[in-house]
């Protein structure tokens, strides 16, 4: 449509959010502004999606030198991997303004800020620019959690903030280390992400830099054992924040792994992939088992989200095209299903004033539309064939079996746990007898129903006819492995023989 499309998608929400913050706008104006801007961003993203030609390389590139002496630039671009995360954000965020209509000005303003920052992190093609957006992403979450969160919000706020900042500052060191290495090897300063794949990184410092990146992303995803901030933050945060955290921000962690770790640290990644894959599987199991035990449905969804992030991360660690493509597909599927589930949980909490599963029951008879939508989102989340969740999980498990049979089998069987907690929760909340709290439960209003309808349809369409989506993803993932092809081929052969031993020997 016009040039600088990515910049507009990034800065339109940020500017609108800042404008709302500095002016004494009322709640209604804030909500309408938020809705308008996020729908505008959605329209622009759809324009982007249709204009995207799936070459596998960066498209819609914008380049403006910023700090020439260090090769740092305002450099944006988008490929098949980032496109889907950007789209997930643009499609899902307008719903918040339609579902939650009575929040404060700062709530909507912060949502706009976080939307712009997340788009920026996904579109950035320069490491420093990526870092800047990555950090800005956290600030609205910090304020939303601290200002509008639940009763135990302060410890949760501090936990997520310190945890994330610690991770990202270590990542900053690693980013600078990459830039300096590039200067040392090619005698030219550059911080462009695409250039870093040419680096030849060996030795102890490179391994440390690898972990600098990995820990930052593992905290954001969150990957076992860096998941301890998650239950508190997801539970205490206001619904919109939980929604943003689980549906999009966690995915940017996975995106970081795909964008930085896989192409740049191919050698270290191949060496530690099995370790990371096990940490993904353990996270899946542990969080799944923890979810079964939860009494609070929001907390249960938090653990369920963490468990699913484990399998998405696993798809990245398997180092083959199927698993990686499956991961990206699953990113979108999980964003839609879990995102919507968190919004439903917010509606449940708003209307019944409780988050305890035991207190509820029989909602299905009072609110059939709500129950049906919930059921579809839930089934997509557990990966029922015919919903979006199935395609991604299937591809990941396929790739995992190819990578390492034990991990494939473990991951495949762990998926059953998800079915257990979800269905059990559904039974206790939606079936059984009604009680005083759920007796007067109102069904979704027409506006709310229409808000959720497109996403529900998307879940089903993505489950039945995935080809148009996959065709946009595959060129980029294939290219990612084509770049580092020799190393991957080599590691596949070494992995066949007890890879743990090779790690220890090194």
């Amino acid at each position: 449509m016009f040039e600088h499309l990515l910049s507009v998608i990034i800065f339109l929400p940020i500017l609108a959010g800042l404008l709302l913050l500095v002016t004494p706008a009322s709640k209604t104006i804030a909500r309408i502004t938020g809705l308008t801007i996020s729908i505008a961003a959605l329209i622009l993203s759809i324009d982007l999606y249709t204009g995207f030609s799936a070459t596998g390389h960066l498209e819609f590139v914008e380049y403006l030198p910023w700090i020439p002496s260090l090769g740092i630039a305002y450099h944006l671009g988008i490929d098949g991997i980032s496109l889907f995360i950007l789209m997930a954000g643009s499609v899902l965020l307008p719903m918040v303004y339609l579902v939650f209509t009575t929040k404060e000005k700062g709530y909507y303003a912060n949502l706009l800020l976080v939307q712009g920052a997340m788009a920026g992190a996904v579109c950035a093609a320069d490491m420093i620019l990526f870092y800047i957006f990555w950090e800005i992403m956290l600030l609205p979450v910090f304020f939303m959690l601290g200002l509008y969160g639940g009763p135990k919000r302060l410890p949760a706020t501090l936990k997520i903030t310190l945890y994330t900042i610690a991770g990202s500052l270590l990542m900053l060191t690693a980013i600078i280390y990459l830039g300096v290495s590039y200067h040392a090897q090619f005698n030219e300063w550059n911080f462009a992400i695409s250039k870093m794949a040419q680096l030849n990184l060996t030795g102890r410092v490179a391994a440390l830099a690898f972990f600098g990146f990995m820990i930052a992303f593992a905290i954001k995803i969150p990957l076992f054992p860096f998941h301890t901030w998650l239950p508190d933050a997801y539970t205490e945060a206001p619904t919109a924040t939980t929604f943003v955290l689980s549906a999009i921000m966690a995915k940017i962690g996975v995106y970081g792994v795909i964008r930085f770790v896989v192409p740049v640290f191919d050698e270290q990644f191949a060496r530690f992939a099995i370790l990371l894959a096990y940490s993904g599987v353990i996270g899946m199991m542990y969080c799944g088992l923890a979810a079964i035990a939860q009494k609070d449905f929001k907390r249960m969804l938090a653990f369920s989200s963490a468990s699913h992030m484990g399998i998405i991360a696993l798809g990245v660690f398997c180092m083959n095209v199927q698993a990686l493509t499956g991961s990206i597909y699953q990113i979108v599927a999980h964003a839609t299903s879990t995102g919507v589930l968190f919004l439903f949980a917010g509606i449940l909490e708003d209307r019944t004033n409780t988050r305890t599963i035991e207190d509820l029951g029989g909602i299905a008879s009072k609110a059939p539309v709500f129950a049906m939508f919930f059921a579809i989102a839930m089934l997509a989340s557990v990966g029922l064939p015919g919903t979006s969740g199935f395609i991604g999980e299937f591809m990941i498990i396929l790739g995992a079996v190819k990578f390492n049979t034990t991990i494939g089998v473990l991951a495949g069987t762990t998926l059953i746990i998800g079915v257990c907690y979800m269905l059990w929760m559904f039974q206790r909340v939606f079936f059984e007898k009604t009680n005083s709290l759920s007796e007067n439960f109102k069904d979704l209003s027409l506006i709310e129903g229409l808000t959720f309808l497109p996403v529900i349809i998307l879940i089903i369409v993505m489950g039945i006819y995935p080809q148009p989506f996959l065709s946009k993803i595959t060129p980029s993932t294939a290219l990612l492995f084509a770049q580092s092809a020799p190393v991957v081929a080599q590691t596949v052969t070494t992995n066949a023989l007890l890879p743990e031993l090779t790690i220890e020997q090194k």
């Binding site: 950090e135 800005i136 601290g146 903030t161 310190l162 900053l172 060191t173 600078i176 280390y177 300096v180």
Partner: protein, 472 residues
Amino acid sequence: MTNDLMLLLPLIIVGAGAILLMLASVYEKISHEMAAYGSAMIFAVAFLVQLSFCIIGNATLFSGVFNGILVVSNFSKAAGLIILACGFFTAMSSQTYFKQNTFCTPEYYCLAVFAASGMLLMTMAHELISVFIALEIMSLAIYILVGYDRRNIISTEAVLKYLMLGAFAGAFFTMGAAFIYGATASTKFVEIGQYIAKHGFLQTPALIGGSFFILVAFLFKAAAFPFHAWVVDVYDGASVPVTGYMATALKTAVFAVFANFLVIDGSLQAGWIKYLFYISVFTMFVGNIIAIGQQSLKRMLAASGIVHTGYLLIALVAVSSKEFTGSVIAFYLAAYAVGTLGVFTALSYLGGSEEKRNTFDDFKGLAKKRPYSAAAISIFLLSMAGIPPTAGFMGKLYIITSAINAGQVTLAVLGIISSIISMWYYLRLIINMYFYESEDQFNEYVPSAMAPVCTFILVICVFAISLYPVTI
């Protein structure tokens, strides 16, 4: 000759302005408010003159008139700009501060201008005796400013501590200068450098001892470990604008001369760097430990000033004496000055009369009553903590980049760990301001718009500086 005087013009303006202000206040011709505007005017004019030199650039350096004792470089110009800007904002925030506090006389402002003239001289000095003179012009004025509130027992204690220890530091410096002169037969940096290049650094004990004494004096003035203990009490005792002035302008001047002295010769630098490495690490971590426990905001900011000294020392460790531009140090000093000065400017009108609000708890719920001030303070704190897109982040980025580029990966990682720790006490104030209900009403009338306007300008500076590209 004319060119030399032109280059010296900012210093001349500041010095002459200070004398005029002093005469006017002796004859009681001006009120302290007029003195505030007068001193702000002096700073502003000198700043613009300095800025025009920076923009025109390429002015030929000093010829033989000053016999090589003063050198103007881009680094000294940048440091001068920072100092003059700090002076301007200090004068403006003092004007508001003294609407609520009563111990002001016009001499206060003339001392601030005198101190600035000493600092400007210090950024240009390339000779030990002139450094000493500049140091003393600056210090004497600052001593009096620290103890300006004579009835306040805490500020009297502060000035006594500062004066005693500062006098020791001055004595150390003189002795070091004498030793070095004895060894090298010169006090000029260039000639000392030539001597060391010819004979080596470790040849005579006098040279080693002399440079050690000078190191002690600089570390004391820069508030580095193990000479950091005075900072917290002195900053706490001084009035808010003076603390801000000391934390920013004084530190800029000291680091300017420190860097200039350090890079005079490669072997001198190599001899110092391994000690500076440890000093920098200890400065960061000791500063953090002190800051974590503080209840008073001023004391926390004082301790965080120690931590920032540590970061600046990282930059000093990473400088190379081959092609020294000082741009990283100057950028960090500017970024740090904007953040720190911003917080102190905001405190000067939010603190209330007699600085009654000075602890973390006193600022609980500020965001509900004064949303714009709270937002400004948060931005300054985030800049000091190094969160993008603020100037503090870019400063940290340059420092870490230059450290890793110089092969100091360990130091860079330790610097990052220290800034993770420092997040706690910066966030603590933001959390107090935003996430608690207010007990205090913060409803007193702000007597003057000067400090709030300055705060607003500084907020813009935080973002504007971060966009300015620097060559490492």
